[in-house]
Symmetry: C2
């Protein structure tokens, strides 16, 4: 049940429904885009890891632009509506283990509602 | 708040977040796909109509395969997790007006959790 739910609504089809932005604005766009940061392959990785981890009723979907481009790569997990920034496979492993399996939160990677830029601890490590 | 929420979670970023399946399995696939039923253009229509209708904090996203292909075209609306079948612009108009604006439900088009095929009233009118 959510604030927007009605008592007669069907029970959830997926226990957790994850949407991974894979939008690509193309080269030279004014705003960054998740696909340019590798989100398509990272989404494939997350999907495979969730399946390998036995998360049977969890769906990992690609989505169009989630419109928080400056905070990408981004995902959102419903029905709880929790947003994360991630950069690496290790970040996704942590989200799978801590959020999806344990029902907790990865505070370091979570986005707040008003957040407009990454916090220092969320900044990607510069490529060598 | 949902059953999966925590009291410290940020408030929702979008009031309603709609995902419209635009998956295309290609010709001759064993399962149907929403894009082959026109979902890409219908999603563009829904996005434009929601905007024209002043739904400022509602996001209409395209998504990958929602895996309820036999019930397509399909959408899911979060955080409430309500699923709909639709065929036409008129169906989407009704979902926008009744669900997104009024917070009610379009019973005729709603999918139940266990549903595996369309109900008679949901069957598309045959093309002439």
């Amino acid at each position: 049940m959510t604030d927007r739910s009605q008592s007669t609504d069907p029970k959830p089809y997926y226990e957790a429904h994850v949407f991974v932005c894979t939008n690509d604005r193309g080269e030279g766009a004014k705003r960054p885009s998740c696909a340019r940061r590798g989100s398509e392959k990272l989404r494939d990785y997350m999907k495979a890891q969730a399946r390998a981890g036995g998360l049977a009723n969890v769906r990992i979907n690609a989505s169009g632009c989630l419109d928080r481009c400056e905070l990408g790569c981004t995902i959102v997990i419903y029905p709880e509506g929790v947003w994360y920034h991630y950069d690496t496979r290790a970040d996704l492993d942590e989200i799978i283990e801590t959020h999806l399996k344990q029902g907790k939160r990865v505070e370091r990677l979570m986005l707040t509602t008003e957040q407009e830029e990454l916090r220092p601890e969320q900044m990607p490590v510069a490529a060598e």
